[in-house]
């Protein structure tokens, strides 16, 4: 029972450390200002959303290395469709999400139907998505200007860079929270989720029990692609630009969040709650290191060590 919330321990520990090491100004701890805390959530929101999708994939014992490239493709797609094709907001979002979904499904098909290892399918998918993004954008970042004229995107899209609730809560953070809550409920309360865990735990047993293994796997990759595309839309909205190189290396950050959150790369064990905690842990860590202006290279060392230790702590739970 205690162990159910173990993934939160690491987060709490890092949070406390952040408070202790927080620089202060006029007696106020900079780390704890609501502005800063929401900054942290905003900063992790894209990785967080991707990591939620990644959790599903890892739960079935797979992995998806293409998510960073998919984010880039989606960011480019959003920018191109809004600015160059003058599509409206809804059509753009729908098309981009569909691209992510279909791309994910195709990877799922390659991996589940032709039983090629997910690592390699999505490694190839990474290259393909990156290539497509470059081709779609003509190799350049596509800037998004707002307005009603031709070549201008609807102003609504720029809301992704704004904050709501009295300018406090960044919209991306809000979307992340919504996605996380939905995913948590979904993984708790549906038969589909039992199938996901079963496939990761013992694929053969799942198949013999009548679980539609192939279908579930394909759908899971589809979900992951969809969420990566969603992160890409947010990325474009936040940065007012879609560039084919966006999201470089995000896959490793997302995987780190999932694993630090206690999900086993072997599949069958883990939770979205853990992943959210893992993403926040890494976000808080980044934030406090930056607030203290720690040397970038030293930051790398510290982050590496914290990841190992956090993952090591996860192992303490009874297996």
């Amino acid at each position: 029972m205690i162990f159910r919330f173990q993934s939160l321990f690491g987060l709490v520990a890092v949070f406390i450390a952040a408070i202790v090491f927080s620089p202060s100004r006029n007696g106020e701890l900079l780390f704890l200002t609501s502005d800063n805390l929401f900054n942290v959530v905003r900063a992790v929101s894209e990785i967080g959303i991707i990591a939620v999708g990644m959790t599903f994939v890892i739960l079935i014992g797979g992995i998806d290395l293409s998510v960073g490239a998919m984010l880039g493709l989606a960011a480019v797609g959003s920018a191109v469709l809004l600015v160059e094709n003058d599509f409206g907001l809804i059509p753009t979002v729908v098309i981009v999400l569909a691209v992510g979904l279909v791309f994910g499904l195709l990877q799922g098909i390659a991996s589940a139907l032709f039983s090629i290892q997910a690592f390699i399918v999505t490694l190839a998918g990474l290259q393909i998505a990156r290539g497509l993004a470059r081709i779609w954008s003509g190799g350049q970042g596509v800037a998004i200007a707002y307005g009603d004229g031709p070549g201008e995107a609807p102003v609504t899209f720029s809301l992704l860079g704004e904050r709501t609730f009295n300018g406090l809560v960044p919209i991306p953070a809000l979307i992340f929270i919504v996605v996380a809550v939905l995913a948590i409920l979904f993984l708790r309360g549906t038969a589909f989720s039992r199938h996901v865990y079963a496939i990761g735990g013992n694929e053969k047993a799942a198949r013999l029990s009548g679980v539609p293994v192939t279908r579930v796997k394909i759908i899971v990759f589809g979900i992951c692609g969809l969420l990566a595309a969603l992160a890409g839309i947010i990325h474009a909205g936040q940065l007012n630009q879609g560039s084919p190189n966006d999201g470089l290396g995000y896959e490793l950050d997302a995987i780190a969040a999932v694993v630090v959150g206690g999900t086993s790369l072997a599949g069958g064990r883990g939770s979205v709650v853990g992943t959210v905690a893992g993403a926040l842990l890494l976000g808080v860590l980044n934030n406090i290191l930056a607030l203290n202006s720690v040397d970038t290279n030293v930051q790398l060392l510290i982050k590496g060590l914290v990841i190992v230790v956090a993952a090591g702590l996860q192992r303490l739970r009874p297996s």
Binding site: T190, S193, A198, N202, A206, G210, V211
Partner: protein
């Protein structure tokens, strides 16, 4: 015509029929033109040596294997299943030989996997799932918390979950592929009551087992397979064990149990005093723990019910268990039980109770699996002679008469019993002094069992000591010189097999005071 004949088998309508079923794996023909029927209200035993094709045939019937030739009929109508779910819909359920449960899910989730109850809004109905699982477990007399994770359960308990899961399907035809191999007699009895109930309800049951006594107790009919073909059919009620065994092997069987000379004065090999395994939940154990001795040339049995601590004891003695207290003296020296590697070096070997999970790299060749424990011993300057390696593997495989085409074939292509012999072969190659065996004949056919018993006898005669945990009382009585009965992590009785039989063993295991 053929189908009709199968359906109206001897004038009795059958629930399902298999007509001229053949199935090959690559070049291996596992089943050849098999006809087989299951009638309502019968227990139909399917017998045969390891590798005879029993599991294969039933996997065809349960929709697991789909590339076969021949016809399956249900209620007289031909049908082709495209997966296990299809077969389940047609009322056919199977308990697989190798336990197929998801370790990370709870008992209830495993039982309802693939057909989870849902609420009106299509979400998972946990409450209903738990309720129904409780009912089911109560009905079948299984004492388990439905919320426990299956991965935490011991093999025997997992087997019970598999059974419960199959029962929950309310199948018309229930296939049980060695359902009792990890169960002790008390649980077996309980299971048989359940089977009898199902039979009365009109279900047809296919029962596969290598425990011949069970066949006699519950089967109505028996079909014997040999090399993938049906070689005999019996009315099980008046079939003798020898008849069945002869049909399976194709020649008269030798005596199952051969006595070996016990040299009671043999040197003390292992002396355990007050061994307490501290991994177990505290407070559940009498601190007195386990005390026992094994001498050279002796085969000592370990009896006990499910969870009595046999596996735990063997694991601990091999250095592969948890923390422990007490004293273990091996070959006259106090042993710290540092782990499998040092145990093997000192002459202790261990056969785990679940060969598939803990015993073999199934994808790897027979060769690689057999010589694994001795590769560094036969290596010179770290380099292994391939000829020497193949020679050792071939020799031991022949000595144990393992049925295989080539030692380079993957172990996964061997039948269960032959896989078991590979584990035994690996152990014997290290030329050990003490064999720790946990259910060594689980899933092994009568012929092979006799051979394994003979091998154990020979080992003892050559001065090895054997500590053998088993749930099959006949085996303990037949093979061992002495049997130590465990209950709740301590030894509660010790019986000389020369004087006591199965009944006494059972009574002692159950906690009755035994007078000798």
């Amino acid at each position: 015509m053929a189908q009709w004949r199968v359906w109206m088998d001897n004038g009795v309508a059958s629930l399902v029929g298999l007509v001229r079923i053949s199935k090959s794996y690559g070049g291996v023909r596992a089943c050849r033109d098999v006809d087989f029927t299951v009638r309502a209200g019968e227990v139909h035993a399917l017998l045969g040596e390891n590798g005879a094709g029993k599991s294969t045939l039933m996997r065809v019937l349960s929709g697991d294997l789909t590339d076969y030739t021949g016809t399956i009929t249900v209620g007289g109508k031909p049908i082709r299943f495209h997966g296990p779910a299809d077969a389940q819909r047609a009322g056919i359920a199977m308990i697989h030989q190798e336990l197929d449960l998801v370790p990370g899910l709870s008992v209830a989730e495993n039982i309802f996997l693939g057909r989870e109850p849902r609420t009106p809004v299509r979400t998972l109905d946990r409450r209903a799932m738990l309720r129904e699982t409780r009912n089911l477990l109560r009905r079948t007399g299984i004492d388990l918390d439905p919320r426990r994770q299956v991965g935490e359960l011991r093999t025997g308990e997992q087997q019970l979950v598999s059974i419960a899961k199959a029962l929950s399907l309310d199948a018309k035809v229930l296939i049980m592929d060695e359902p009792t191999s990890a169960l002790s007699s008390a649980e077996v009895d309980r299971m048989f009551t359940v089977i009898a109930e199902l039979r009365r309800g009109g279900a047809g049951i296919v029962y596969i087992s290598h425990r011949m006594d069970e066949i006699g107790r519950i089967a109505d009919r028996a079909t014997v397979l040999r090399n993938g073909s049906v070689v005999a059919e019996f009315d099980a009620r008046d079939m003798t064990a020898d008849q069945a065994a002869e049909a399976m092997i194709g020649r008269p069987v030798r005596a199952m149990f051969t006595t070996h000379e016990t040299t009671d004065t043999g040197e003390k090999l292992l002396e355990v005093t007050d061994l307490v395994v501290t991994r177990s939940r505290p407070g559940r154990r009498d601190p007195a723990g386990i005390s026992l001795t094994v001498r050279r040339g002796e085969i000592v049995g370990l009896a006990g019910l499910l969870g009595s601590g046999r596996t735990e004891l063997l694991e601990t003695l091999f250095g592969a268990g948890g923390r422990w207290q007490g004293s273990v003296i091996f070959k006259g020296r106090s042993s710290r039980l540092r782990g499998p590697r040092s145990a093997i070096r000192r002459g202790v070997v261990y056969m785990p109770e679940d060969r598939r999970i803990s015993g073999l790299a199934l994808d790897h060749s027979v060769l690689a699996n057999t010589v694994l424990s001795i590769v560094d011993r036969i290596a010179r300057f770290g380099v292994v002679s391939r000829r020497r390696e193949a020679g050792e593997a071939t020799r031991i495989v022949r000595e144990l008469s393992v049925k295989l085409a080539s030692v380079r074939d993957p172990v996964s292509t061997l039948s269960g019993g032959n896989q078991q012999k590979i584990v035994l072969g690996r152990m014997l190659l290290t030329e050990p002094d003490l064999l720790l065996l946990d259910e060594p004949t689980r899933g092994v056919d009568v012929g092979a069992k006799a051979e394994i018993y003979q091998l154990l006898g020979q080992a003892a005669q050559r001065g090895m000591g054997v500590l053998l945990a088993s749930s099959e009382l006949a085996e303990l009585v037949g093979v061992c010189d002495r049997v130590i009965v465990l209950r709740g992590g301590r030894n509660v009785a010790e019986l000389q097999t020369a004087q006591a039989g199965e009944a006494e063993l059972l009574a002692a295991s159950m906690g009755e005071v035994v007078q000798l």
